[in-house]
Amino acid sequence: MKIDVKHIAKLANLSVKEDDISRFEKQLSDIVGYIDKLNELDTKDTPPTPQVTGLINVFRPDETAPSLTQEESLSNAKKKHNGLFVVEQILEEK
């Protein structure tokens, strides 16, 4: 199965150099080819298991408690302004 690396990389917000595309394509196709062996198994009536604990709806009381200060939260940001995280532009002026 051929993996469309350009498309997948875009979905995953990853940059892949043009030179690396065919190498990743081959490696990923090999791996996907291997995992296809699951098709040998009939799982028509088998329920899926997302996680093993069987726990559901584990809640705590909806009470606020001390958390990180604004300064702590910003402490690792490369770009900050006025106590805010600076992000890439997502809306364009028309």
């Binding site: 990853l14 298991t49 093993v52 402490s75």
Partner: protein
Amino acid sequence: MNIQQLTIESILEGYRNKDFSVTDVTKMYLDRIKQYDATLHTFNTVTEEHALHDAKRLDQMLTNGDISLPLFGIPLAHKDIFVTKGIRTTASSNVLDDYIPQYDGTVVSRLKNAGTVLLGKLNCDAWAHGSSGENSDFGPAKNPWNTEYIPGGSSSGSAASVAAGLTPVSSGTDTGGSIRLPASFTNTVGLKPTYGLVSRYGVMAMASSLDSIGHFTKTVTDSALLLNVTAGPDGFDSTLRQEKENDYLENMKKGIKGIKLGIPKEYVSEGMEKEVKQKFEEAVKKFEKLGAEIVEVSLPHTDYGIAVYYIIQPSEVSSNLARYDGIRFGNPRSSFGDEAKRRIMLGTFTLSSGYYDAYYKKAMQVRTLIIKDYTNTFEKVDALIAPVSPTLPWKFGAKVDNPLAMYLSDALTVTINIAGIPSLSVPAGFSSNPKLPIGIQIMGPHFSEKKLFQIGYAFEQETNYYMEVPEL
């Protein structure tokens, strides 16, 4: 006193007998790190000032005769995916090479409060992606038994540092074998606890339904002493069992007469390297000598483990690594290494529209079958014993050009994570030439760690492999 053979027990004894101070012990380890780690590269960050500060504070308590803390004055180091407040935590990745966490994770703070001294942060495969240590963005840790060979991964530095006597204990994580494989390659004891026993809060998530938080020690007793501190609910990780065990050392020295040990026949195949098979068979004879009843069992879906794992894990990885956007912390996503990119892309693919049912959902269904294999088996036996790796440790570079070949190194470890059961890797001997460690794993039902320690202790005391140390 041979520092390479120090354990939690012997260090605590030393404090009680006033043989040395916490500062003495801490300086000993820091000196060893200075002497050997340029070659072994097990540490990403050494926290010398911090360690000596901790030691000084603990020495005050020692002077006042208060050494009651369970891990009083025990130096330790954390795999570099455990967040440590104010101390650089990198995941061994260029994405986080300058990240300084604003909080301590649960295991970090519990071990701190138990009296430990932090020596530093340990090298690993970046993001815990790997079986050899070679995926570290900062250069791999080396196997202290022979530096041409990999120490195993992803907790490469954690295993190698304990083996080399650079720290008596270290933390690690096991998502598909990342504690057990390096433990078996370095003659150390590696515990992968039950999923839901030890909090994952403050440990950088790899695959959230598979990650297990454990540790490396020289002995089984030390492993139980650490688990006494790390295990139990914390109010932050919602997948934890609420009941707490009182003492993991209870019944540890009872012996194993009459215990039923199963050997899964799919785990001992012709594909195994001769010396690994040999050491396993020797181990089985030792267990028989100790009075255990050996039963052949079957885990029929073993062969599908890697396929299930390499769908579920990358899928969850692709989600967990989405947070590294270079905005709130870290460098841009272009800093990810090749293996991280591969796994993110694989996971994005298996979760994408049109493929989710054929891959992720299918893998979850086969997961049910694998869990059933174990449930059925544990109705017949108390525990299982098996090799950890089908091969001996390999030379650096042997598998780097073939990711799939590297993935297949996990063939005997992944189904344990898929089922969420615990497994203890213990030393089981060495190959002859070169001399490289071989381990075996002891697996049990969910929350059966006490039994695993009991079995591991009996084997350890009968074989004494833990007494051997590498010549550095």
